[in-house]
Amino acid sequence: MPKIQQLNTWLMEHGQDLNLALIIFLGAAIVSGLVVRLAQNRLRAAKVSEQKVALITRTIYVVFILVGLLVALHVLGLQWVAIRRILFSVILIGCIAILVLRRYIPPMPFKAGDMVEVAGLLGIVESVSVVNTRLKAFDGRTMFIPNSVIMKDKIINYHFTPNRRIDLTFGLGYKDDLLRAKAIMAEMLAEDPRILEEPAPRVFVMGLSENSVNIRMWAWSKNSDYFRTRCDLIEKMKLRFDCEGITIAYPQLDVHLSADAAREASLSKGEDNSASNS
């Protein structure tokens, strides 16, 4: 029998089942999309971390698709016993593949919820797909960066370690009380509840520049406290220095004039004028 006739016969016998199976699978895909969106909104409203949201929604999606596929296969004629065995085999193969191959597949150096800087862009990772990574900038922009671009560029993950060091340098006037300034900075760092005790904060004189004595401070805080703590320290130190009469130096030039030099300059100017007149 020609192949087209075989196909015709098969479709006459099983065409309805095929259509029903496809409808079931399509329905499962649509329902899974809706449920995933609903779950994402509810989880984000409950302030669940982005990483957990991604994990939960991905699991929901896979479960719905799998259930849809298995029901579709049953409609096509596969027995439940066979379906169970296929499912079990797929799970086992998946586990084996993950365990054996995971060390050879480099993971992305960040996950959903991390703050990263990549390709010159800074933001929070919202999701990582096979093709691109979605980043949300702090001004509200959403950026889609191809994974191929990310893997070729250097990536700074600010959440890879839980703590971060605050570096601040203050340039003080040469005539200011250096030891008092250092003591103030050290006390302020020791008092602040967000500054970690280990590693201990440090204050040291970094250098003597043209305009100022540069004092640098290092202090560690949690990632989540970093920005606010840094800003607070700058504000508090500036105001405290003002109270104590310690000046923050700015670039300036001291010009010293001597009487002899001024007289000579005036004389030579007079000679130039008489030469030009004659």
């Binding site: 020791a190 008092e191 602040d192 201990a200 405290r240």
Partner: protein, 103 residues
């Protein structure tokens, strides 16, 4: 004495690390004024001293005695305290500061 021992003594004694800040104020009740705090003592304190003083400033502005028609929610003697309840000098002047003062 070993250096490590001395370092531990210094660490625990030279400056007390505060654990957070609260805004202390007095609110009107029958017969007088009653002390209260926010955040409440059962809640975690504010970690930023700058934020605490800003809260205190805005709270003082929104509950000052002179606001007409809102005398019932007026609050007085507002200042920032640390986790032990000690008044914290205002960081801008390094001196104690009381907002909406009332004798």
């Amino acid at each position: 004495m070993k250096l490590k021992e001395a370092a531990n003594i210094i660490k625990s004694g030279w400056v007390r690390k505060r654990k957070g800040f609260r805004i202390r104020f007095e609110k009107r009740v029958e017969g007088g004024w009653e002390e209260d705090f926010f955040p409440d003592k059962k809640e975690p304190p504010i970690k930023s001293e700058v934020a605490a003083w800003e809260y205190a400033r805005r709270f003082a502005l929104s509950t000052r005695l002179e606001r007409p028609g809102e005398e019932s929610r007026a609050t007085v003697n507002i200042f920032v305290v640390d986790d032990l309840g000690c008044a914290v000098p205002f960081y801008g002047t390094n001196a104690l500061k009381v907002l909406n003062p009332k004798a």
